[in-house]
Symmetry: C2
Subunit: 378 residues, 2 copies
Amino acid sequence: MKFEIMRDWLLEGLNDVMKAISQKVANPILTGVKIEVNDKGLTMTGSDSDITICTFIPVEEDGEQIIRVIESGSIILQAKVFSEIVRKLPTNDVTIEVENGMQTHIQSGKSEFHLIGSNSDDYPVLPNVKDEYRFSLPSDLMKSLIKETVFAVSQQETRPILTGVHWETNEEKLVCVATDSHRLARREIVPENMPESPFSVVIPGKSLQELNKILPDNADVVEIVIADQQVLFKSRNVLFYSRLLEGNYPDTSRLIPSEYKTTVQVNGRQLLQAIDRASLLARDERNNIVRFSADGGKAIEVSSNSPEVGKVEELIEAIDVTGEDLKISFSAKYMMDALKAIDGQDIAIHFTGAMRPFILTSMENDLILQLILPVRTF
Amino acid sequence: MKFEIMRDWLLEGLNDVMKAISQKVANPILTGVKIEVNDKGLTMTGSDSDITICTFIPVEEDGEQIIRVIESGSIILQAKVFSEIVRKLPTNDVTIEVENGMQTHIQSGKSEFHLIGSNSDDYPVLPNVKDEYRFSLPSDLMKSLIKETVFAVSQQETRPILTGVHWETNEEKLVCVATDSHRLARREIVPENMPESPFSVVIPGKSLQELNKILPDNADVVEIVIADQQVLFKSRNVLFYSRLLEGNYPDTSRLIPSEYKTTVQVNGRQLLQAIDRASLLARDERNNIVRFSADGGKAIEVSSNSPEVGKVEELIEAIDVTGEDLKISFSAKYMMDALKAIDGQDIAIHFTGAMRPFILTSMENDLILQLILPVRTF
């Protein structure tokens, strides 16, 4: 194997692949990155066995030569040291050559590195994703979808299925739900080319977070291929595989109230900042509880108190308040997470009483829903 | 006590004072910030008993009113929660009022915080710095002086005196030295108004690091007042007190060689980058050792190897090499620290043999000297 490549391209591809590579893996070969070069280009693969990422760098793009392949071949190199070396090479021209089987030379300017590689035959084969369900979404919409749901997955392994986000078809819609049993985030979307037969899968939250880091913030198409135990996200030069979680996701639809006693319409950013301030004096209480009350007028009050430190009250001018008077307490963190997911738009909060779950929706589109369970304090 | 103040000024002063405040202090009163207001302005004080910082905000500056004092007074507030509150206040206008002794109200826009303060009489009195030695330096020169020496102090408490930087007069010069007994950094300076009688003090490295964060990067004058057990740095609106370390600093002048067998002149930045790359493959060895060799020609070689991972060699074009051939090994970290202190200029490295300390000096000024002890590997 021998090829010349532009460092900046190599580094960009490597940065993506590194997101799948962990030093804590049972199989030591997975601390390495697999490098394969042929007359089409360079493919790099990294995996922690849950997530596998492949990036491809073509020999040439838009008439610019990126790689000059002198001899095809493949090798596995220690990912951590290889990526540090690439980052610090002195020039943008890099030659990588494998001699005598495993001796790998990386040369740039007057620097010459010699690494001992491993046989690429020892690398696990890629998951075999049978083409069962396939549809596509723009990359930026896919990123929103992830950000609006993934924060609500459970961080605890006691119910492993809740550490994932449930993706399910409902007629022509894709419905994505995450819950840790104290709050729930739901986002609906209508892809252009949904598969006809319905599916229901649970994608690990961690996989979606890593995918979000790799996807570009533009309208490039991401193809989604769902198979029995794997999901594959294909973007221009990156393949992102994740295993699916096994088990049945609970039916969450019956948690969501459909009749309301009090509805408050308010600017999401104003409310977020007020809750953030109130949480400063709720620090020491369990779960960071703040109080919220609406009574008659259009001003709502957010407050909290910490017996040892002090208390805070703040009035917020609502856009509209309808229905019964209300006093309710909830986790400042859950409320702030939900408000950040709706992202600064005007919102409606629908309550069904102080001890019942309440929901937040965007007043601009009805595809986002956040649900929070209150806490008993009043 | 009651006053109105612009939040941005309050926050800036508070950020400086917070650098002295720690949550790990024996005296719980020191987790608070002392606030005093009178018709001249607002003074805030924070201390961890080693370092004490006072900032002053005047009632008015350049014709702009910053504070409106309604009633003089003083209070101690929990520093962490108070600074978080100030950072998150909704408007730039803040009113702070103390009622019934300790009840403190902080009001901005429609937010109202109520904190329980402590009696300011309980706050320790400021160190009494008798005006023994006094001189001054521009703030930016003071910052350079700190950065060029403080990294070399010992991180271990086995010889506490080495955790400080030694400041000593030598005729009209101020000589600053730090060493951890493996390497040494020395910076000389000629202040305009040195006191006539000589002094020798050891300032804790940690104090100088905090001072460096507070000093502005401009030519404003910093006055230095040295007393028996304290040093005081006075800049425009900040007083920074530090205790001095007790004990005798070792005589380091005899460590510094004055005759050389090999001298290499090289660009500091080029050498720094080459050492950084070489250190990638020295990771696993004790102390991160790289090798350096000069033999005859003007190219010097930097190399390292790690038996399990691989090796690296790099040639660097020197400006000049004179004297005997040389092979020497040293800590990549110490070398990089020294080169960063000299900061990218052309440098001269003077060697007296593979097992003797060597020194680095800037070719542009002779006031900076770095010394490193080599390691036996060749």
